[in-house]
Amino acid sequence: MADLIQLLTNGLALGSVYALAAIGFVIVYSATGVVNFAAGQFVMLGTFAGVAMLLNAGLPMPVGYAAALIAMALFGALFYLVVYLPLRTSPVVTVIIGTVAIGITLQNAALLTFGSWPFRLPSPFEGMMIEVAGAVVSVHALAVVATTAVMIFLLWLLLHRTAIGIAMRAVAQDVKAARLMGLRVQWLLAFSWILGAVLAGVAGLMLGPMWFADVNMGDPIALKAFAATVIGGFGSLPGAIAGGLFVGLAEVLGASYISSAYKDLIAFGIMILFLLVRPQGIFGEPIQDRG
Amino acid sequence: MTILRAQGVTKRYGGLLALSEVDVAIEENEFVALIGPNGAGKSTLLNVLTGLTPPTAGTIELGGRSITKASTHARIRAGLGRTFQHGRLFDRLSVLENVMVGAANRPGRSEAQLESAARTSLERMGLGHLAPSRISSLSYGNRRMVELTRALAGEPRILLLDEPAAGLNSGEVEDLMTRLRAIRSEHRLAVVLIEHNMGMVMRLAERIVVLNFGRKIAEGTPAAVQADPAVLEAYLGAGSSYAAD
């Protein structure tokens, strides 16, 4: 029982990170239609933004986190200008290859800047453990789940209670109609990229202390975020959350109870199964709540 | 002999009844027009006949054999042909290659035979000079004629035409009517024509089937249909712009 609680906590924490990465991916996809294959590199950059601010620049934690997220917001804006705008009318395949190409650049730029030796990104709850129902779990893992819940709540407020969020949802549903309504579509699309990058940044900052900060961490995260997106329902925010949690739990529980070698096969097997049987994912109609 | 027979064809989309118990029988070598106001179910009927939309109820026979459950390509190979409302050609293939794709549904033809069959079809339609052209370079009228040629190259026993005159200028419409008459004298095939251009319908059709709100409300010779009070009320009354010109 104690083992199970520990596993569930770790699974939910990992799943929260995947969920945030998937949400960032979905917000960009539903607003711009771009299948961003560099989404995993966004999370990697988030982790290394933390490394740069906390370890290299030695900033205190709240300031360092804020600085890292501001850097991610700027990166999102840059990505919008340099990658999205030139490719916005290209076919799906060209966009996939283009974002992969820029992902290679990001990964190697990080390699040049930070080297291949993995970093250990500190957590505000470094080494802290508490007992929950007889099981010892890390405070960081609980904080990750809590932070994700808060982020999702803030995102919901943004999308439903603010003018910019409501405008974003209008753009996601129908760009032409949104333009006719007088919305400044290009600004909203840029904001989607910024929001996506910031969410990936949060995911990266939370993941850093759980894994080692490694410049090659992007691809595995991207694959998990894709699996989460497909399982939850392409373009659906609740779907991204459910899918992310599911993939995280499947990974941690699968490794423990089934096979650590084949733990990743579970997520991809289920992803392919969903594509074949229910390609619209768990949350079938991704119309209402697209970011 | 009846070439195509649809019996009790019903198509329901949720609460909407797009087709209700429609019976249609097309005789060999017959020219039938299918008319009705917008939303009457004409295109739905064509989609059910060609297998793009499964019917909720009803049966379809082609040449005496049931094709109710057959796939679209199997129906085409069994002798059905169709063109679309907006002319759907394969943009990455040349005009000749488009027609060769149509000709390939008759089995056992070599590549050389396919090409000569396609060239012959194009010549007959007066489009021989367009054979090497790219689709993107064609005028709208020519696109529609090439699509018709592609359907004919498959040597159908019955050809379904979905508003072939839509978007054509009056000269092109005259040309289309001449071609359609020539096709019938050369090919021995039945034609089902969906058309809003009443002048064209009255001059070409031997028999007219009228749909309204998914039901067949009248059927008969052009003269009889024109005089049918139900048609006048439900159809001509609904939009006087459709009146014969």
């Binding site: 395949v93 190409a101 820029i102 699996a227 | 060609t50 050609l89 394969f90 990455r92 396919l114 790219r134």
Partner: protein, 325 residues
């Protein structure tokens, strides 16, 4: 027709000239380029003609390579004999996978095939008794012809150049047959294709299987060239590379597949003069190519050719603007 014969002659002339004039290292790269070319000519069936976005092509290459490697090293088969089950088995696998999977379109199919490629890698890395796990399979025997072992980079290059030539000619015949036209028709408009009597599902599955067969041949060449394979040789990054090669060269064309394979094999090597940052620049260059040459090199060349024709005196009014050739 004349242009295609000319292109084939030019390809063989350039290949042979290079094979006797360049360094051992460049020969090795040329071998990798020709092996990739085989895979990319295959991918052109699935994507270039039938429009199926496959990010799992490297898995089929890997399946072919592993079947050959296992049969030769564990069952003692001769490599030539082992190519048969490698190629046919991979083609069969593509049919079995393709029937359910190819109902998906666009990025759904891309992600499904990507998941397939990742799953293949996981199995190859963990089914240790059969595949040797991450250590891979070593000591795969090389091919021999008329009693002569095809060893060393130069003789192997002659073989692989010949294989590319034969497979390119075959692909060209398929492209210009009813089967090739059916694939392109399906990509352009599935409904209209079915309305000309084309069996859309069968056409997609055959295009997918044909592409897998070419990938398996590339896998057999790879295994007998390098004599060693491991899961990393066939991970999903390679699938993306193959698709990049096809798009950079010019999708829908066989020449584009070959040019793209050669260019993207050599481009990173040429960029090595930039030092450690060469891969970062490679990514940027790829992005620039996609933005400024969306139809690839062959698309660009044929646009030049067409505009040159248009300037010539009897300008045909009907020459189109379509970018694909």
């Amino acid at each position: 027709m004349a242009l295609r014969v000319l292109a084939l002659a030019a390809y063989l002339a350039i290949g042979l000239a290079l094979s006797v004039s360049v360094s051992e290292y460049t020969l090795r790269l040329l071998n990798l380029a020709t092996i990739s070319a085989v895979a990319v000519i295959g991918l052109n069936f699935a994507f270039g003609y039938a429009g199926l976005i496959s990010l799992g092509h490297a898995a089929f290459m890997g399946l072919g390579a592993y079947i050959l490697a296992i049969l030769t090293t564990q069952a003692g088969w001769s490599p030539w004999l082992a190519t048969l089950p490698a190629i046919l088995g991979t083609g069969l696998a593509a049919v079995v996978i393709g029937v359910p999977l190819l109902r998906l379109k666009g990025h759904y199919l891309a992600l499904a095939t990507l998941g397939l490629n990742v799953s293949f890698g996981i199995v190859a890395a963990n089914w240790i008794e059969l595949t040797g796990g991450t250590n891979g399979i070593a000591k795969i025997p090389g091919l021999s012809l008329f009693g002569h072992a095809i060893e060393g980079e130069r003789p192997f290059l002659w073989l692989s150049l010949a294989v590319v030539a034969v497979l390119a000619v075959l692909a060209s015949f398929i492209q210009r047959s009813r089967y090739g036209r059916a694939m392109m028709a399906v990509r352009d408009d599935e409904t209209a294709a079915s309305m000309t009597g084309i069996n859309v599902t069968a056409t997609k599955v055959s295009a997918f299987a044909l592409s897998a067969i070419y990938a398996a041949i590339a896998g057999c060449l790879f295994a007998t060239h390098v004599h060693f394979i491991s899961p990393d040789d066939f991970n999903f990054a390679h699938s993306i590379t193959f698709l990049s090669m096809l798009i950079v060269g010019g999708e829908g064309t066989i020449a584009g597949a070959i040019i793209g394979a050669a260019l993207l094999t050599f481009l990173p090597e040429w960029l090595r003069v930039l030092g450690e940052s060469y891969l970062a620049f490679f990514g940027l260059m790829m992005l620039a190519i996609l933005i400024f040459m969306p139809t690839g090199i062959v698309g660009l060349l044929s646009r030049f050719r067409r505009s040159a024709k248009r300037e010539a005196p009897p300008a045909p009014a009907s020459s189109g603007e379509g970018a694909r050739t």
